[in-house]
Amino acid sequence: MPQAEQLALVFLDGVAFSMLLFLLAAGLVLMLGVMNIVNLAHGSFYMLGGFVGIAVGVRTGDFALAVLAGMGAIGVLAFAMERFFLRRLPGNTEQVLFTLGCVYIIWDLSRIAWGSNPQLLSPPAFLAGSVPIGDYRFPVYQLAVIVLGALVALGLWFFVQKTRFGAIVRAGADDREMAAGLGIDIKLVFTAVFTLAGVLAGLAGVIGAPILTANLTLDWQILTLALVVMVVGGMRTIQGALVGSLVIGLVGTVGTFFLPQLSMFLVFAIMALVLAFRPRGLVR
């Protein structure tokens, strides 16, 4: 039997992974709520964010700069996608299919630019060490990711529930026509939400790069996991995204530790169970 310390390590590892998933799922929840679309390129945003972050981080040696570059690049990309393409399309289905096309474009451009080999980013020097847990050691970096994820979750919750712009976002999600009728520039809200989701995905991509590496298989992998998170969490709320991320991140990581062959299956089994018994997700 694994010792308690070992379990704690796997647990923390799972929470760190959950936080990456949360950054993506939160963006997807916002987009689905406000714009009623699912951005299939969200995994691609994550992947591209990682590649950009690594390119900048390796050249400058500055991790903070890498994070900013990843967030900025994906933010600009998301802004351009929404402003110049999505908004011109007549229906949600067309918008989703547009993002599907973007998945292929981003994948092939990334392949041309960075090749098929996985790339690694070193964590910043001040987070490079590890802390002892019993006889084992846990990387400080993963702890920092957990803290950052928790802060972003708190920030997003505050932003959506307590600020004026958050109220506008919620109004847009509840009743688009009514919000527009009250004088809210709903198009601007769409652009802002899509860009914000892009920035979060870019952030996840860069801070995930030291843990998962950046490689060309991440786009669909991460998107699939983020979608499973949404199904499990309930698709509608930031809280749901957080719960779903924790469930899927922990099941995936703990499952990999005990039953490496079955971990993916476990993740999907949970999704199927949730769909069968709580089709509207764990958090309603």
Partner: protein, 325 residues
Amino acid sequence: MVSKLSGTQRLAYTLLLVALGAGVFVILPHFLSSYYVLVFAEILIFSIFALSVNLLMGYTGLVSLGQAAFFGAGGYTVALLVTHAGIENFWLCLLAALAVSALLGLIFGLLALRTTGMYFIMLTLALAQMVWAIVWRWRSFTGGDDGLPGIPRPDLGLPWSLADNVSFYYLVLAFFVIAVFLLYRIIRSPFGRTLVGIRENESRLQALGYNTWRYKYVCFVIAAVFGGLAGTLKVYQDGFISPAYCSMSLSALVVLAAMIGGTRYFAGPIIGAAVVWVIRSIVSSYTEYWTLILGVLMVVVVMFARQGIVGYFAQLREKRGIVKG
């Protein structure tokens, strides 16, 4: 969609086109190199596949991004029966493949059809990715990413062999004709009309007393079976199967094919599949940027050509009719 032609004229046109198309497809292999015979067989197979996805997308208004799950289910059923169980009988394998696809359709339909719109897209995608992940991870059974090689061309007990590409092409053509006939009948039936009604206004049909869920469910399973049929034929063509058979890219490619051809027209997916596969077989011998081209093609079609090729010509004909009239 509204045609200005009368019923008889329309029928004559259709018959003429079908006869012409059939003639071309029957004679074709004798003018082509062995490689292009296979490309054409592949086009026919993917036409069946694209028709199946369009039954959901074009007629019922349910965009499925997980159709490759059924394609892969059909293909893997055959591959596993042949390589693990040593069953060589084509009809048995085909029947099993269709049954497994139908079963998967029955299960996935139950889960996915609890939802509509965006949620349906997300669920079909996630469920298909589940199939992909299982096939990818279950190495001992499915061969993982190495796939399963060594599936011989089918033996139908006929006096001639199907090992050469031309004979195999004719087998595929036969199944294509059957599939087109059946799907056409389905779409023109009261059942098919109801599906279109669901696409246009589901709540109205519900108010009229239709159990729309049941219609969508049956449609989903039918689409799954035809997807499985396409996968079955493809695995016999390739003699090999890999997780690419149930990949996300395949699901997306077949949706793109239907869109390029025109989702509101019966022939749309067939034309679209032909266009996509011709472009692919030409492009991939010149550049390695097929994926990029695919993405750009998708964006261009979504942005500027949503009615598809068939839709474009239908509109053209209508305009001319108006000018004449």
